[in-house]
């Protein structure tokens, strides 16, 4: 059974149809990509899945549960986590505090216990911190995490955002342009890291990505959106040779389909 199912999802903003009659099925432990030109509706779709936007038509199912009427925190509790196109950390909080916010739902101590400093609260806090440090090591964030998160270099901010998503213990992770703004070396590291997330942690990955090399390298299935509609779906090889995709990207018929897509990402 597919882990994430979208059936006929439509999202309108006033007169604009951002996503139209969209169908999607993602198998557990898959790595799937959403691609498409700017304004195609990729991030809108992420926002619908993660509960940021109510959808106008259709339904969204996660592991069989309808999620399109749920609040964001309820969706997070079901096991969907996400990152953001423009990194959205809690800038005034430390690195480790950022991560620990993601662990909130797995902690249960109440305010009275915290005020009294109960033993159970202290133990829970200690194990939460140990877990946060473990996750930080896993994503490759060095140090004790006491630095202010906004002082981290860009690449580490990206990794912190992923660490914060990972500690919620998701089964589906939505990554919105995880390699945006990275140099080729960083991009390669990130690509390998995304694969590790699936291989080692068994997390299903759905990513939006403009860097075609990344997409073609790690995706098992690719879904192409244009003007809010799905125009193609398939394996990387099928997508690379699909004339409609080429047209959507280049605007007219191209002669050498694979080469330009493999080398040049459209400017974001």
């Amino acid at each position: 059974m597919a882990q994430l199912v979208a059936k006929g999802v439509t999202k309108r903003f006033g007169g604009l149809v951002a996503v139209r009659d969209f169908d999607l099925e993602i198998e557990p432990k898959a790595i799937a990509s959403l691609i498409g030109p700017n304004g195609a509706g990729k991030t809108t779709l992420f926002n619908c899945i993660a509960g940021w936007y109510p959808i106008d038509e259709g339904e969204l199912l996660f592991e069989g549960h309808p999620i399109d009427k749920l609040r964001r925190d309820q969706i997070a509790r079901l096991g969907i986590a996400r990152t953001y196109q423009n990194i959205r950390l809690f800038p005034g909080m430390s690195v480790v505090e950022n991560v620990l916010v993601g662990y909130h739902q797995h902690m249960h101590s109440g305010w009275m216990g915290a005020v009294m400093g109960l033993r159970s609260v202290r133990e829970e806090e200690a194990s939460a911190q140990a877990e946060a440090l473990r996750i930080m090591q896993f994503v490759g964030l060095p140090g004790s995490g006491k630095d202010q998160s906004s002082n981290l270099p860009y690449g580490e901010q990206r990794r912190l955002e992923i660490a914060r998503a990972l500690i919620t213990q998701p089964r589906l992770l939505l990554l919105d342009e995880p390699t945006a703004g990275m140099n080729p070396a960083e991009t390669r590291t990130m690509t390998q890291f995304i694969r590790r997330l699936r291989d080692e942690l068994g997390i299903t990955i759905l990513l939006i990505e403009h860097e075609m090399r990344v997409v073609m390298d790690i995706s098992e299935r690719i879904t192409v959106l244009d003007h809010g509609e799905k125009i193609a779906e398939g394996t990387p090889r099928e997508i690379q040779t699909n004339p409609r995709v080429i047209e959507a990207y280049l605007g007219h018929r191209a002669t050498a389909p694979a080469a330009p897509m493999g080398q040049d990402a459209p400017a974001p």
Binding site: F90, V96, E97, T168
Partner: protein
């Protein structure tokens, strides 16, 4: 800032014109001539003159800052700016001689002109311009002094100003003790004596230099933690002792002021949770204050409105609980509103409660404008006892404030504190990480309400009555200002905020309506130059305690460390 290539005169002119506005304003609103009667240093300089001198020093300093190069340029720029600022006063005097501006500006009197010309009148109308230039040059040169020389000077100047302003209170306090002779030496009936001024400058500047010279602070920091405690704990003990003894020595007026300050510290710490940690701008704080105050009033009053005749101590828990419940009832429908809109909605609730308290509708229960009187003091203490009058309220508020500070500190290091901070920073992302916004915000709101209720309950016992007119929007605004000016989310900030915004204006009663003028200026300056507050929540203060043993699976101690 002017660069070396552009004309420095433009910066000088601009600074000078700003200065002209300031000096003319100080003169026309009456600060110069009214406070000419109140000396800062008896026989030497009055407060009115001090205001002008400080403004001119500042102008010179600013003008010097806008030029870069040589000392000559600095002197010229400062002199020019000072000349313009002082010259404006000269023009004012000449204008006053030609046309009658007194019809509009009450304070543009011969008395003002006399003060400005050092008693010479029209013939000395050149004096303000000349003095302005001279004083501004001093300020300008001051800006070029090396830091090591400037720092003790500015410290001494500030100390001189503060001791001069508070001379009456300090003198009064010392007169009741064995220091009476010293008090008569240092303080005149109004202001400092010349000797006192010298002593203050020497002691403060010298002390400051001694601190810098011995690098005491660095040395204490460098000590190993255990030995550091040997130094810091006695220091805190001295502070605690001063705080405890304070109302006993300062007389009944000051005792009432500091009891009020302690009350606002308590409420500031309460709102610090709602606003400082969770970022919920609550302008209806007074609503919960009212619930607490009327609960204590109704339960303890011996008047006709009293319903239970309970002692204060039995009533105060109910004040807290009712305020908290009220917070839940008000909070649930409005907490999904964000930011500024929440502020407006809470403002509305505050006004509703204020109007209800004074309404005819509830007059039979709450007494309407006449209020509830005969609210007994928590502790019956005879006059002269150390718990007499406002003193006991001071101690009660102090204990409660310490309690709230403790609660806030514990919560800040907990899972909830992190959730609040994350909501303050980005509530969408917080929710997407699994934080239940309604639950978490409601808790912050209810805790803030509970502490407001506690403050209200203590307030009604302090005043001995509760009237609808005590339920003012100004209470909410004051508490918000305390938190913002002190530093959002900072516990010592809330304390300092209450001292500066509540205590200082109360102590400046002798300056009547002018104190709120200055209060307003201080707020604006604060937000311009130090928007993060007097003592912002240092980033490190929130840092979580990371025990390496937690990593290796050894014995765990997850208690947050003291900031």
């Amino acid at each position: 800032m002017m660069t070396g290539t552009s004309i420095p005169w433009r910066g000088t002119l601009r600074t000078g014109l700003i200065g002209a506005v300031v000096t003319v304003f100080l003169s026309l609103v009456g600060i110069v001539d009214v406070f000419d009667a109140r000396p800062l240093i008896a026989g030497a300089i009055s407060l009115g003159q001090t205001a002008l001198v400080l403004a001119l020093l500042g102008i010179g300093y600013m003008a010097a800052r806008s030029v870069e190069a040589s000392r000559v340029q600095v002197v010229l720029a400062a002199a020019g700016a000072g000349l313009i600022a002082g010259g404006a006063l000269t023009l004012l005097i000449l204008l006053g001689a030609v046309i009658d501006i007194r019809a509009v500006f009450l304070h543009a009197s011969p008395k003002l002109y006399g003060t400005l010309t050092l008693g010479l009148g029209l013939g000395g109308s050149w004096i303000p311009a000349a003095l302005g230039a001279a004083i501004a040059i001093v300020g300008g040169l001051g800006s070029r002094l090396p830091v090591a020389a400037r720092r003790p000077l500015t410290t001494a100047l500030v100390a001189l100003l503060l001791t001069g302003l508070f001379a009456g209170i300090l003198r009064g306090a010392m007169l009741t003790t064995s220091l009476a002779d010293l008090a008569r030496l240092l303080f005149a009936p109004l202001g400092l004596t010349l000797l006192g001024a010298v002593v203050v400058v020497v002691v403060v500047a010298g002390g400051r230099e001694l601190l810098t010279y011995t690098r005491l602070r660095d040395r204490v920091r460098a000590l190993p933690p255990l030995r550091r405690r040997l130094v810091t704990w006695p220091a805190w003990a001295v502070v605690a002792l001063v705080v405890l003894v304070l109302p006993q020595t300062l007389g009944s007026f000051v005792a009432l002021v500091i009891a009020t300050v302690a009350l606002y510290v308590l409420m500031g710490l309460g709102l610090n949770i709602t606003l400082g940690l969770a970022g919920l701008l609550d302008l209806g704080f007074v609503a919960f204050f009212a619930v607490g105050a009327y609960t204590v009033g109704l339960l303890t009053s011996t008047s006709e409105f009293g319903i239970a005749d309970w002692p204060f101590w039995a009533a105060i828990p109910f004040a807290v609980i009712f305020a908290m419940l009220f917070g839940a009832i008000l909070g649930l429908p409005i907490l999904s509103i964000r930011g500024d809109y929440l502020a407006i909605a809470t403002l509305g609730f505050g006004e509703i409660v204020r109007l209800l308290a004074g309404s005819d509708l509830l007059k039979a229960f709450l007494g309407g404008p006449q209020g509830i009187i005969h609210i007994p003091k928590p502790i019956e203490a005879p006059a002269g006892d150390f718990l007499y009058g406002p003193n006991q309220i001071y101690y009660i508020a102090l204990v409660c404030a310490a309690l709230i500070g403790f609660v806030a500190w514990r919560l800040r290091g907990s899972r909830l504190g992190r959730a609040w901070l994350s909501i303050r920073e980005d509530e969408d992302v917080a929710e997407a990480l699994g934080v239940n916004l309604v639950q978490t915000k409601l808790l912050a709101y209810m805790l803030g309400a509970a502490f407001a209720g506690l403050g209200g309950g203590i307030f009604s016992a302090l005043i001995g009555s509760i009237f609808a007119s005590s339920i003012q929007l100004f209470v909410s605004i004051n508490v918000v200002a305390i938190v913002v000016v002190g530093g959002m989310g900072s516990i010592p900030g809330a304390v300092l905020g209450a001292v500066f915004l509540i205590g200082v204006p109360e102590l400046f009663r002798e300056f009547s309506e002018y104190r709120y003028l200055l209060y307003g200026f201080a707020l604006i300056a604060m937000m311009l130059y130090r928007p993060q507050g007097i003592m912002p929540a240092k980033f490190a203060e929130r840092e979580v305690h990371l025990d390496t043993t937690a990593l290796t699976g050894g014995p765990v101690m997850g208690r947050p460390r003291s900031p």
